[in-house]
Symmetry: C2
Subunit: 321 residues, 2 copies
């Protein structure tokens, strides 16, 4: 199944069931919002599947992904991992943090979740001098997960998969990281692609609780990267279990993969600018690519093997606050 949230004047918007090809939609009859869906997922999924079949047959009305909200416009909890080792190694290079402490548990921080930008919303920053960067990620949304849930059991709590742009300020990020408290100023609100999908929509590409598909990224129209989501050192199941070690996870918890990155970054490219700068430092002795300027655009999209957009497109412009 595929879901989106369309504007209705409220903060939470209106949940719609979206056809596989993203062309049609119908308001979800069983639940009004994505948050309500996550609270009642197993109970209402049968009825929603019937609606999904209907929109796939052409029922409903036209769906405009570019005008949608984030599928979950606000969440009670957003926990972001950093599960791609090649990204971590390049960041250590960029931030001059090689030799730092490597934990034997997954990296994870809690970020701002009272707002997720819609897929085509402008994103505002105080100044270009903070080194504005995008980060292409995959994420999952859980139903209610009890404290102490194992990775094996966590798989059943992964109800939806989403695609995320985790906006980052690279001047501030290493300073906040060195302070040890995680990121507040360096991590403003993220954006989500317009459509959230159930794991079965990915077919064989949902493998080992990872998304085995390239995340395509363009910066100002030029292709920037197409790294695969499969290279996570820990799967989303392990990220859920990690998060649930000492807390119940509220229904609608969003957990991110961290910036999608592959060891073959010289061939596949990157999902953030900082990583390209790290590669330049290794290959050319210094970082040459600048961060974003006001007016710059970033686009992110994921396709299934027949070329259909799975989550719809993120396409955002950076503007001055």
């Amino acid at each position: 199944m595929k879901f989106a949230t369309i504007p209705d004047g409220s903060k939470d918007g209106r949940l719609v069931v979206v056809s596989r090809d993203l062309s049609r939609m119908a308001p979800a009859e069983a639940v009004p919002t994505m948050q309500a869906l996550m609270e009642r997922f197993d109970e209402v999924s049968g009825a929603l599947l019937q609606q999904y079949d209907a929109v796939n047959r052409g029922d409903g009305e036209a769906f405009d992904p570019s005008s949608a909200h984030a599928p979950l416009p606000r969440a009670w909890q957003w926990l972001d991992g950093s599960a791609f080792d090649s990204h971590g190694a390049l960041m250590d290079k960029v931030f001059n943090m090689e030799g730092k402490f490597k934990p034997d548990f997954p990296y994870m921080y809690q970020g701002v979740s009272d707002r997720f930008y819609g897929p085509c919303e402008d994103v505002k920053f105080p100044t270009e001098d903070d080194f504005i960067d995008f980060e292409g990620e995959f994420g999952i949304i859980t139903d209610s997960v009890p404290l102490g849930t194992t990775a094996e059991k966590a798989r059943g709590h992964i109800k939806l998969i989403v695609q995320i742009n985790d906006w980052s300020l690279r001047r501030i990020a290493p300073l906040e990281m060195k302070a040890g408290f995680g990121w507040v100023r360096a991590k403003p609100a993220c954006a989500m692609a317009p459509v959230a999908v159930t794991p079965d929509e990915l077919g064989d590409a949902w493998r080992d609780a990872r998304v085995d598909l390239p995340l395509n990224v363009w910066w100002n129209g030029a292709k920037f990267g197409a790294a695969s989501g499969y290279a996570m050192s820990v799967g989303f199941d392990e990220l859920v279990a990690h998060a649930a070690y000492s807390r119940d996870l509220v229904a609608g918890t969003v957990i991110g993969s961290g910036t999608v990155s592959n060891e073959t970054y010289r061939e596949v490219g990157s999902s953030c600018i900082a990583e390209r700068r790290g590669i330049e430092m290794i290959d050319e002795g210094e970082a040459k690519t600048s961060f974003m300027q006001f007016g710059d655009r970033v686009k992110m999209e994921v396709f299934d093997p027949d070329g259909t957009s799975i989550f719809g497109r993120i396409e955002q412009t950076v503007v001055k606050a």
Copy 2:
């Protein structure tokens, strides 16, 4: 004014106006919940003040602080500072992190906010081996704060003051801190004292955007500390401005002071066990006080000069999850 939230079967509970001496209450007529109050504070405060005067004159019904929810039972955002330098110095001692990077900005992390424990709820943990600790704090709740708000303007956005118990797992805390991503497993849900108060309720004790009153803490009935909230290196106004640097703060954002601590800790005691262990390491060469065991109780309460409880009492028991 003073406010609390009483159980009504919903997650957000029912907002009540509470008399100054915490004996009487009346359901708030203008807004149903604390979240709604924070979204409409300036608009409805006049009407609520009339209700407050009435309960102070004996109107309404009896208020039982021990059965209340947290004043804000769930928040879209909880940002905790660490503004007491003597606490930071003792933690560096305990965690063997002396010489670590000291930022020129306030410490702050984002923590779990989809649930705040009520003042007398048991708190569950996976194991005693994680070194269970309490942390007595003051906190504030803001209305909507725009990105870029200065510390001076932030003062007007501090609508309510609360008292918080920030539960912490000390085995995990230094590891997560060294990893640089802040705390997820080491910081389960916090508790709040039953009553939130407007700054004017503190009179002269609300000074420089700090609470100039001792936070009394008892562990299993024995007095543990009474450190003053005034010794913050930055006030709550500066914490709000820090948080709002690159994000709009949603109405109902809760910001914590960090563990209340004074340089005179040998006289006034401490607001967490880890700090007492740090003092023992300095004074006696080794930490002697153990962390909490299942069945242990912690109590926290703040009084005004005439002995009236300002926020009501936190009194929690630690239990096995």
